[in-house]
Amino acid sequence: MTQCAIAAAGLGAVAFGLAMLWSRSLYVGAVCLLAVLLQTALIYMLLGAPLLGLLQVMIYAGAVMVLAVVTIMASGGGPSGERFADFSLPRPLAALGVLAVAVELALTLASTRASAPTPAAAGLSAAFGANLFHAYALATEAVTLLMFLASLAILPDREPS
């Protein structure tokens, strides 16, 4: 059941990713990315890392996507003239790239079909939390400071008097 749920969430994530690529509206693109991130957070939880899933929902859905939507609102949000850039890559080469991705996905599915996913140990989340706030406490604090400094970048300049 868990494997089917992971596969369904993966299919949903890829479908929303493709919708993000093809959507003309930036609002639709942002909502599709939000759906992809929620699907991947669900996969994290199903794999046995619920804390990371919650972190992903809080950081992306609660902070980054709000900023993205505000930026889209500030830009008007309407579609621009051209959706895609001038595609100067030769068509046979582009088709070869798409074929390579398809072959890579097929080989990945074929090579890992035999091995069933092992459920994560019950203590993995506890060990993860202990690592984050004990062994890597300095890195956690540094990243927190980095996020605070990055949030200052969104502030407007002071108007010259």
């Binding site: 494997q3 890829v14 990713g17 990243v143 970048a153 969104i154």
Partner: protein
């Protein structure tokens, strides 16, 4: 079925890369970068859970936070470009073009 996570990760990375390469709007390109980071995180989490490695999960948490900071800086740069009146089209930014 175990390869579903790897296949999802690869497909999401390919879609994000296609978004960055093909789309014209800077915001759409930034969303594509976020998609690529999410795909890489997914592969990292799958490996961490497979090998029961809590340190890899801690690394994913750090990557999540750094990606969020990068997104905020990217959005602020896009806002500054908008304030300068040059629109969202990446093709309009041609000062550094030789």
């Amino acid at each position: 079925m175990s390869g579903a996570v790897w296949a999802t990760s690869g497909a999401l990375f390919a879609v994000g890369l296609a978004t960055v390469v093909l789309r014209r709007q800077m915001l759409a390109m930034l969303l594509g970068v976020e998609l690529m980071v999410a795909a890489a995180d997914l592969a990292l989490v799958r490996g961490a859970c497979r090998f029961m490695d809590p340190e890899a999960l801690a690394a994913v948490a750090v990557v999540l936070a750094v990606a969020a900071a990068e997104a905020v800086v990217g959005l602020s740069l896009i806002l500054r470009v908008l304030r300068s009146g040059r629109g969202l089209d990446a093709g309009e930014l041609s000062e550094l073009r030789g």
